[in-house]
């Protein structure tokens, strides 16, 4: 019984000390499982995740860990401070595909983001986000033919004018030739 009483007191203290407000955090990504990234052998690219802290009541410290894809990707640093009221703290992920990467090969990228929440009394709760996407290796694309620009009505007018001028030349030329022939015949 004594044991229980002491536990009660201590947990009561915990209760008073650890009542917290809300914790908030977000990560946006341009690629996800159903929206893979296509890259070519030898290609390099930087894909940015965006950290957001629009709802909380203080700045948030976030740890980023690349858990899959380290053979082709890297993150320049692992701790980010996300200021309160911001949605544009970028986490650049540098990707470099090997020159000899096989066409059709799929690399998987996974990055874990986690708020660095102090242990605190009781059971402190943090937020984690698991981001990931596939990179599909594609064959180099041949230089695409220049797209044909849609012809506007103004272009039609110019075309018509050109046709008329050309026609005038042809008619004049034909008439001149005819006259010459007549003169030659006479």
């Amino acid at each position: 019984m004594a044991n229980k009483t002491i536990l009660l007191l201590e947990f009561a203290l915990v209760l008073l000390a650890s009542m917290g407000a809300a914790s908030a955090f977000g990560v946006s990504s341009p690629y996800w499982n159903d929206n893979p990234l296509g890259m070519q052998p030898g290609e390099e690219k930087i894909v940015s995740f965006n950290l957001q802290n629009m709802v909380g009541d203080s700045d948030v410290q976030v740890k980023a860990v690349l858990t899959k894809g380290s053979e082709i990707a890297s993150i320049e640093k692992d701790i980010y401070i996300v200021k309160l009221g911001t949605y544009d703290t970028k986490v650049p992920l540098a990707i470099k595909i090997p020159e000899d990467a096989e066409i059709g090969k799929v690399y998987t990228i996974a990055v874990e983001f986690k708020t660095m929440t102090p242990g605190d009394n009781g059971v402190a709760m943090g937020i984690g986000m698991s981001e990931g996407f596939d990179i599909i290796i594609e064959a180099p694309v041949a230089q695409e033919a220049a797209e044909t620009a849609p012809v506007s009505a103004e272009s039609y007018v110019a075309l018509t004018a050109a046709v008329i001028v050309l026609a005038a030349f042809i008619i004049a030329f034909a008439a001149k030739k005819k006259t010459k022939k007549r003169r030659g015949a006479s």
């Binding site: 002491i6 977000g26 990560v27 929206n35 965006n50 059971v123 018509t160 005819k178």
Partner: protein, 309 residues
């Protein structure tokens, strides 16, 4: 006879060339050159109907590309873009109040709240408009179709351009409350000890629709760190009642993400107050470990638990 034949051939060639040229010109260009936009008609009276301007419909010929766009946590984001409307009858014929735009994905549509704003005119025939559409944090990620419509003063036919798309990125975002869990007085061997400040309310402030995982950490004794209440002593459920169903919930594991079944915190308008975008988690210690000394157990030494999305 030969000369006459040659002359006839020459005449025929010239005539043929003229016919070809006139045909091309009539089909391709003359209407624009002379702005002939209608035909006159007459009856026995002298009622004459001539449409000189406005008979041609507009063309929504350009929509400026929209970059991949991030949603913003728990709020909306205005996406602006430009639209060029062409009218062969001149820019004065474009009906400024007819130019609207919307984004569509599946059954969801986000639209301009008013007509797009005229910015300027180009070279007699085109008008440049600025359109703005508000997208919300819970709007689905992926490709959204851009539709722009416009009409003119004369023809009045609504012309649509639905050929453009943009990508609305994925946003995983949560707000959790409270930031820490507590228990009332518990004793070694006690059964079904539930938290006294649960649930953890999880609000989905992004557009990701997924399942919640919880990574628990063993609670270490603050006075005697050799003792702990392990993560596996805790269970989590999505409901609570007098029967304490959370005590039969999902068993947690130390430093391992454990999926909470049926925990989908689907995106939605949190302000609507219908529990959209919200889920709740209730915690229990089905049996407090035996032979624990009297002390405080907490996450101070081991680190916080994490709700992973």
């Amino acid at each position: 006879m030969g000369e006459v034949g040659t002359a006839l051939k020459s005449k025929r060639n010239i005539l043929l060339i003229i016919i070809i040229i006139l045909t091309i010109a009539i089909f391709v260009g003359f209407p624009n050159v002379f702005n002939l936009t209608g035909l006159a008609s007459s009856t026995g009276y002298t009622n004459l109907t001539i449409s000189v301007a406005g008979a041609n419909p507009v063309v929504v010929e350009f929509i400026s590309p929209i970059a991949d766009t991030d949603p913003v946590e728990n709020t909306s984001r205005t996406i602006s873009f430009n639209v060029h409307v062409y009218d062969p009858d001149g820019f004065n014929d474009v009906n400024d109040s007819s130019v609207f735009a919307n984004f569509t994905k599946g059954l969801t549509t986000r639209a301009t709240s008013a007509a797009c704003t005229q910015v300027n005119d180009f070279a007699s025939y085109r008008v440049n408009y600025s359109c703005s559409i508000q997208m919300w944090y819970w709007d689905a990620n992926g490709g959204w179709n851009i539709s722009v419509r416009a009409s003119d003063m004369g023809n009045r036919t609504l012309i649509f351009n639905t050929s453009s798309w943009f990508s609305y990125n994925r946003l995983k975002a949560l707000v959790i409350s409270p930031q820490s869990l507590t228990w009332p007085a518990i004793s070694s061997g006690e059964k079904n000890a539930t938290s006294d400040n649960h649930p953890t309310v999880v609000n989905n402030t992004g557009n990701y629709n997924g399942t919640v995982n919880i990574t628990a950490i063993n609670l270490i004794g603050e006075s005697n760190s050799a003792q702990s209440i392990t993560a596996a002593n805790f269970t989590v459920g999505l409901t609570t009642s007098g029967a304490e169903p959370e005590c039969l919930g999902t068993v947690l594991a130390n430093n391992t993400p454990v999926t909470i079944p049926s925990s989908s915190s689907s995106p939605g308008n949190l302000s609507a107050g219908s529990n959209a975008g919200q889920s709740r988690y209730y915690y229990c210690i089905p049996q407090v470990p035996l032979a624990l000394s009297t002390q405080t157990f907490s996450t101070i030494a081991g680190g916080s638990w994490t709700i992973v999305y």
